[in-house]
Every structure is written in structure tokens, then in C-alpha cells.
Amino acid sequence: MTEHLHDVVLPDNITEELLTSQHIDFIKKYGEEQNKFEYGMTDYLRLSGMYWGLTALELMNAGVTDTQDAIVEYIVKCQDPDSGGISACIDHDPHILHTLSGIQILAMFDKLDAIDIEGVVKYVQKLQQFDGSFSGDKWGEVDTRFSFCAVMILSILNRISAIKVQKAVKFVKSCKNFDGGFGSRPLAESHAGLTYCCVGFLSITKRFDVLDIDNLAWWLCERQNPSGGFNGRPEKLPDVCYSWWVLATLAMLGKLTWIDGAKLQTFIFACQDQETGGFSDRPKDVPDPFHTLFAVAALSLLDYENIQKVNPTYCMPQHVIDRLQLDPKILPS
């Protein structure tokens, strides 16, 4: 039989434990080194970057307290007074992705009142298109990611009725494929990241009746490679961020037992940078806050010790979701 190894070979000397204090240092340093190249060149995704870093810290029980006020003040400055949307950083344009990141951070800090909530609600409401889909900003790019952002934002603000939910569900349903997965738009190929967004959307709107659960969960568990890592589509290389997209979706569907948790954990550990802390997409690559959050959050779903429980729908600490009294649909395993 021909072997099809679209996979990586794990290094020999994998540390079989989470290097928590190094990861905390990595994230904290990332936020402090404001004149560093990587930080400076990524201003166009700053608020999302802050959400990745701050959530990772909170999950590792190292949530920030001293800089909270400064962060809240920054987010307030990123809200556009005209549209109500939030931008990635000051002087950039509002976008639903960064509006979500801003809301998630404020919710974590219990500081939602700091911004103009009505403004945010109106912003999201206006982005809904006639067919129920959402554009990412006023320029009209449509994607199922934005449908998920919309219902996450509005549910956190307890204002989901501000949009046409049934129409929104109809659009997401129209993106379902022959394999049970979802793509970015109708007829677009299934992708584990976008499948997570659509299942997350259906978890918040409590519409799992749209799904072919067993077929989808099978497609998802087939994302696990012999190395233990998950890919996002068949015959692609594994990447640590899919540990989250796939695992969280399986968690919502109550099918975490369909994959090999121990092997996944080993793959995740292999993506740790032992020198600087932080996680990279694959072993020996350059680490960053994005992959660090999704690696840590995946370990939380695997019940790894001393990590806070994460909510699979919102990718936020469960205690925050409980405080907000949110109740996304999650099937028992």
C-alpha cells in the first residue's frame, strides 16, 4: 500500500510537559516589546493579537491585572464613533473581527460598559446582508467567519435578537457540503477552521438540527495524522492551531473520544519553543501568540492539569462564560 504522509516527523527530545512559565514570559514580553519588529509590523491585527495573548495568560492562571485599565482605554479609542465598530488599532478601520476581539477582552475583564454597546449592536446589525450572511465591514466581503463573529458579539452583549437569526441560520446551512463540513461561502470546500465557525454559530443559535453530526464528526476525526497533529483539510500538513479548530468542534458535538488525546498532546508539546516559550504551527518553527493560545486552549479541552477550563464555542475561559450566563449548545459525550 502506498503510504501517504502529508505529515511531520516529531523530534526525538519532546518535553512531555507544558512549559507554563516560559509561555507566560513569551506572551508578556510580546506585549511589552512595543518597538520590536514583529510587534510593530502587526498593528493591523493588534486587537486580535491582544485577545490571543490575554486569553492564553488567563487560561494559564496568569491573567493581567495591572494593565487592565490601559487595555480597556485602548479598546475604547479603537471604537469608531460613527459606525460603532472597533478597529485593530488606532487610526485603522473598524472590522467585525476586531470588534469581536475587543468585546471578548472587555467581557473577560468585566468591563463591557466602557464602550458604546448600542454602537456595536448597530454596527453588527448593519453588516447583515439580505441573504442572512454577514460582511466583515462596510466593503462587503462575505464569509461564514463573520456570521460566527456576529452571533458571538451579540450573544455576549445579550442582544442576539437585533439580527435576523433565522435568515442567518439559513445562510450558514447553505454552506454545508457533501462531507458534512462547511466552507467560507456556499459551495466552498470544507475547512476545519470554517467548520468550527459554523458549528460555533449553530451552538450559539442552538440549531444543531442543521448538522449531519456523525458524518461531520467522522470527517473531523480523520483530520488527525499519525504524528498526532490535526490538519485542516484532507492530505494537508498538520498545524497546532487545528488542534483547537477540530477539537473544539468535536467537543461541541460531544465526540472528543473519537480522537487520540494522548497523541495530540504529544504533538502540541512538540510545538513548544523550549528556548523562548510560545508555540509554533509545527515543531521547530517560529512561535507566536496565535498558535500559543490555540495550543493552550486545546490542552484545556484535553483536561491538562493546571489550565483553566475553556469554553469550546467562545474560546474564552469557562468562568467568564458562566458569569455572562451564556448557554451555548454543547452535546454531552
Binding site: 500500500m1 501517504h4 519588529f37 485603522h92 457533501f178 466552498a188 484532507p234 473520544t257 519553543d273
Partner: protein
């Protein structure tokens, strides 16, 4: 930071890199300030517009810069329309000069896509610009798409773009189905082609046998490749496929299993067929074998086994 290998450097290399990066960062910040300062200039500031193009060519994900370009383009459109109000009323504006601006924009997005063929923003901007063009050359777009698919036949942005174009240039469904057959025969292992085909084919009694032949050919040629098996599942779980054909396929899979005793996909497919044919007492042996062959997913097979026992 996807797929960027960490490289060991000496202290000197590190210092040189840091200096270079520090200059680059200062340059980036100055460029951004210049653009944001002149963002609302009317008529637009050509220097800022050019700097903006340079920044996007190296990083097409700076979304605010695309928005700036769209604002300039809309203002220019307005200006051309205003310059000939009579023609505007007739809906007959000579947009040649405006199209010239759009052409340059189209070529900018091509530069960006060469640097990053997976940039959502660059693909979207290209389409947005073409929609404003008085005579968009969709054929040329189609050729570009074909070219990009030949470089990376899994680029889903490209497949999505192709789908949008097919309708615009009036390509018929049979022609597109033929294209998907060619792509599949060219590379059985390309999941994107199988997906694309699933969006073109409506499984029914007329076509299902033909689909089965195509996918059977693929899985028998290379049973270890997962792509075609997902398509096979879609076909064999459809009620339009007759029981007789299911039985024939099951027999053929038995033969394949003799040749490929360790191929889990063959066993899985047998499971789908036996369920459809209401074969009794197959589950224990089949799923025990799968648990052994594919231990990572033993939880799945245990659940499937449990279901079979409960339903029998």
C-alpha cells in the same frame, strides 16, 4: 507565522538582522503615517497612493490600506462621472480613463497574490475592482485562475474565484463537469477536485453509476489515499444507488481487501455498504479489526459497534 522555520544565528547575524528590522519598522511607521495623513485628500495624493501599493505588495493583509484604495477609486469614479454630466444621465459615461486606473489596481492585486496567493483581502479587492470596470475581462480572470490552480490545486480562494467566474462567462454545467473529471483524473488525491465535483453533480438514478465508476477507479488505483474515499461514502450512502450495485461493490471490496489487508478505508467502505444492505453480524469483526488497524480512532469504532449492537 505559518511554516516559518526557526534558524540559528550568530551574535553578529542577530545584530545585523535587528538593525535591518529596526530600519524596516521605522520605514513602515513613517509610510503608514504619511498615508493616514493624506487619506482624505481630494484629489488623491499620488505619492501616498504609491507608497500604499508598495506596502500591500509586501503584506496584503493590512486591510485598512485596501479600504483607502477603495475610497480613492470611488471618488475618482465620481469625478469622471461629474466631468460629463450629460453622459451620466444617458448612462453612457466614457470611463476609459477611469478603467485605466482600475487596470493598474488589477495588476497590483496580481503582485500581491504572487506574494501571498491566500490573501483574502487581495482576492476580494480584485473582484471588487472588476465589478466597477466598464468592460471587465472575465476571460483573462479565468485564465489567471487556471494558472494559479496549476501552481497550487488546493488553493480554495482560487476555486471560489473560479466558481464566481464560471457564471459570468457563461460556462455551461456539462463543460464544468468535464473540467472536474479532468482534474480528478489528473490527480486522484486532490480533495478540492472531489469537493468541486460534489457541487456540480446532483446524485440521482441517471448519473450515480457513472459517479461510482469514477470514484471506484480512484480508490482502486490508490487505496491508501483518503480523498476519494470521502466521495465514495457520499455516493454509496445515497439511496439512488441500487442494492445490486452495492452488493457488487461489496464483493469487489472483498477482493481489494485481500490485496490490501491493512487498508482501513476498505474496511470502512465495507461497513457503509453492509449497513445499507442490512447485513447482520458483520459489526463485531469489522470494528474489532478497525480498532486494531486505526487505534487513534478506536473511540469512534467502539461507538459504531455499540450502535450496531443496540440496533440489532
Amino acid at each position: 507565522m505559518h511554516g516559518r522555520l526557526k534558524i540559528k544565528t550568530t551574535a553578529q547575524q542577530k545584530a545585523e538582522k535587528e538593525l535591518k528590522q529596526s530600519n524596516q519598522l521605522t520605514q513602515y511607521k513613517a509610510s503608514m503615517s504619511q498615508i493616514l495623513l493624506h487619506r482624505n485628500c481630494d484629489p488623491f495624493d499620488p505619492v501616498s497612493f504609491k507608497i500604499c501599493a508598495g506596502l500591500l505588495s509586501t503584506n496584503p493583509d493590512i486591510y485598512t490600506l485596501w479600504n483607502y484604495r477603495k475610497e480613492v477609486i470611488l471618488r475618482e469614479k465620481h469625478r469622471y462621472e461629474e466631468s460629463d454630466p450629460a453622459a451620466k444621465e444617458d448612462g453612457d459615461v466614457d470611463l476609459k480613463a477611469f478603467d485605466g486606473l482600475l487596470e493598474k489596481e488589477i495588476s497590483l492585486t496580481e503582485d500581491c497574490l504572487r506574494a501571498n496567493p491566500k490573501s483574502y483581502s487581495a482576492w476580494y479587492h480584485r473582484y471588487w475592482v472588476l465589478m466597477l470596470h466598464s468592460q471587465p475581462n472575465w476571460q483573462q480572470e479565468f485564465a489567471l485562475c487556471t494558472k494559479y490552480l496549476s501552481v497550487d490545486d488546493r488553493n480554495f480562494h482560487c476555486w471560489d474565484y473560479r466558481r464566481q467566474l464560471v457564471n459570468r462567462i457563461g460556462i455551461t454545467l456539462p463543460v464544468e463537469i468535464k473540467f472536474s473529471t479532468e482534474r480528478i483524473n489528473n490527480n486522484f488525491s486532490n480533495y478540492s477536485s472531489w469537493h468541486y465535483r460534489s457541487t456540480l453533480i446532483q446524485l440521482n438514478e441517471q448519473c450515480i453509476e457513472e459517479e461510482l465508476e469514477l470514484v471506484k477507479n480512484a480508490v482502486f488505483t490508490d487505496p491508501g489515499d483518503s480523498s476519494a474515499w470521502f466521495y465514495l461514502k457520499w455516493v454509496v450512502t445515497n439511496p439512488a444507488l441500487g442494492k445490486e450495485t452495492c452488493q457488487e461493490l461489496l464483493d469487489t471490496l472483498e477482493q481489494l481487501q485481500e490485496l490490501e489487508p491493512d487498508c482501513k478505508w476498505v474496511l470502512l467502505a465495507k461497513g457503509w455498504l453492509m449497513k445499507r444492505l442490512h447485513v447482520k453480524d458483520y459489526a463485531v469483526e469489522l470494528y474489532t479489526q478497525l480498532i486494531h488497524l486505526d487505534a487513534m480512532r478506536k473511540g469512534l469504532y467502539r461507538d459504531l459497534l455499540q450502535n450496531c449492537i443496540e440496533n440489532s
